[in-house]
């Protein structure tokens, strides 16, 4: 009995978006993730209003920099997606990582991670209060849990978000990360937007 209850995937509807041919899912009816007001800080210690992220296509993921395996993989996969997106898109697409770790992922630590991962100027690494992190995770439907000791268990999800804040791709599961699909979703958005 427990099995029949518990073994269905958590979000069959959102997961279904991945299965579409183009990888692009129309989500306009579900509202914009930028419909809330909150502020984060970036790796340079600058304040970033959440609503100001509107206006650009974004590849987004939630990570923490002390994460031993999953987060570096997610980051690498997003870099790989970036390399597949035409150079003409430069400046139109941003890559945004948001940290789960309100305590340890300070601007200084994020700047180190930025260097370690050889990220370019299209990348923003953001951190905020535990409260705002919870809000963003809720907007993105990402699950996470902090354990005593400060590490996190979390969903591994890469998002493609259009310039209005609609999630058009949700790629969940570390084994299911596919930079080609991410790049394809971004390219499709570039065609419609510009």
């Amino acid at each position: 009995m427990q099995t029949s209850l518990s073994c269905s995937p958590r979000n069959p509807e959102t997961n279904a978006a991945i299965a579409t041919d183009t990888g692009v899912h129309s989500a306009a009816s579900s509202g914009s993730i930028y419909d809330v007001k909150l502020a984060l800080d970036n790796q340079n210690g600058e304040k970033v209003e959440w609503q100001s992220l509107r206006g650009k296509i974004r590849v987004m993921a939630m990570v923490f920099t002390h994460c031993p395996s999953a987060c570096p993989i997610i980051t690498l996969q997003i870099k790989s997606a970036e390399s597949r997106i035409p150079a003409s898109a430069h400046g139109k697409v941003d890559y945004t990582l948001i940290s789960f770790d309100a305590k340890r992922d300070t601007a200084a630590r994020l700047r180190e991670f930025y260097k370690e991962q050889h990220l370019d100027t299209n990348w923003q690494l953001l951190h905020g209060s535990a409260d705002d992190v919870r809000t963003i995770a809720a907007l993105l439907n990402v699950q996470y849990k902090e354990w005593p000791g400060g590490d996190f268990t979390h969903s591994d999800v890469t998002f493609v978000i259009d310039s209005n804040g609609h999630i058009v791709l949700r790629q969940e599961g570390i084994a299911l990360q596919n930079p080609e699909v991410v790049a394809h979703a971004v390219t499709a958005l570039l065609k419609t937007a510009f």
Partner: protein, 290 residues
């Protein structure tokens, strides 16, 4: 609307689980109860069944103690819960209306679908009118996590964490009868099996807040009225080697849970796990803590 599917699945599971007749001991006096039902050992800080006095209107104090998580990870057996105040009863429609009036951005016609899906406050007559007088004192439902959280902030409160909610739920039931341990588990399952919107809608004034049941800390209607949002509803991840939560409550759930026979608790975790933050249902309300 997958929440509704989950809830209806849950109900059929409870129906199968519910023991036909639940026999619970008749209520002894609180003082007497203390001796025959040793309080859950994990709540070592709680030595009395008499609700702790609270200076905050409508709230009761939950004493500090230890909570053994339903799902945990290696090396973590129990976590300390600091004392906190909890609303004695779920937030009502009348209370929620005050919030909406003061914060019109949370009115039905203004809210972004990312913050509350269609159906938000659907039983109200209009943006700023409940309409049905019967509803005023009943727990507000059809609200999203975002809305519940905004209400809590507006009142200078917050939503309880899962650990706080579950810890509060450990206290024995004292009304309508005394129940702790297995008798309480059976009683809660029975209440869950009866919990449905039709009953709530048809309920008369006898179903107003704080009448269905009450626990030793003075918290009312934690069970059987409505399910309740918690702050970290989106943190139910079963630890696994891979660190991935695909099929979160699957397989590993039985191994990861410290008490797989506690169906009522399992159902709450399964319910929370099925939620998205903008979901609304007619079975899901909330209460605040401070």
């Amino acid at each position: 609307m997958k929440v509704m599917q989950t809830i209806s699945k849950l109900r059929s599971i409870i129906a199968a689980l519910t023991i036909t007749t639940v026999t619970v001991p008749q209520a002894p006096s609180y003082a007497f109860a203390k001796h025959i039902h040793p309080f859950d050992k994990l709540r070592a800080g709680s030595s009395s069944f008499i609700p702790h006095p609270s200076s905050l209107p409508g709230m009761v104090r939950i004493p500090s103690g230890f909570y053994r998580p339903f799902y945990t990870t290696k090396g973590i057996d129990s976590i300390r819960i600091e004392s906190f105040y909890m609303d004695a009863a779920p937030v009502t429609n009348a209370e929620f209306l005050e919030f909406v009036k003061a914060n019109p951005a949370w009115a039905r016609s203004s809210i972004s679908p990312i913050l509350a899906e269609a159906g938000y406050l659907k039983r109200w007559r209009s943006d700023f009118e409940i309409g049905d007088a019967e509803l005023a004192d009943k727990p507000v439902v059809d609200i999203s996590w975002f809305a519940a959280r905004a209400f809590a902030k507006w009142r200078g409160k917050r939503l309880p964490t899962i650990a706080e909610w579950e810890y509060a739920a450990l206290a024995p039931i004292v009304r309508p009868m005394f129940a702790s341990g297995n008798a309480k588990k059976a009683l809660v399952l029975e209440w869950y099996s009866k919990q449905n919107s039709r009953q709530l809608q048809q309920a008369s004034s006898a179903m107003r807040a704080c009448t269905l049941n009450q626990n030793a800390d003075g918290v009312c209607d934690l069970f059987g009225r409505v399910w309740e949002w918690v702050e970290d509803f989106n943190s139910i991840i079963i630890p696994s080697e891979s660190g991935s939560n695909l099929g979160a409550l699957c397989g590993a759930a039985a191994a990861g849970s410290l008490d797989p026979t506690d169906y009522a608790t399992f159902m709450r975790f399964a319910m929370r796990n099925s939620l998205n933050a903008n979901d609304v249902t007619d079975q899901l309300g909330f209460r605040c803590v401070k």
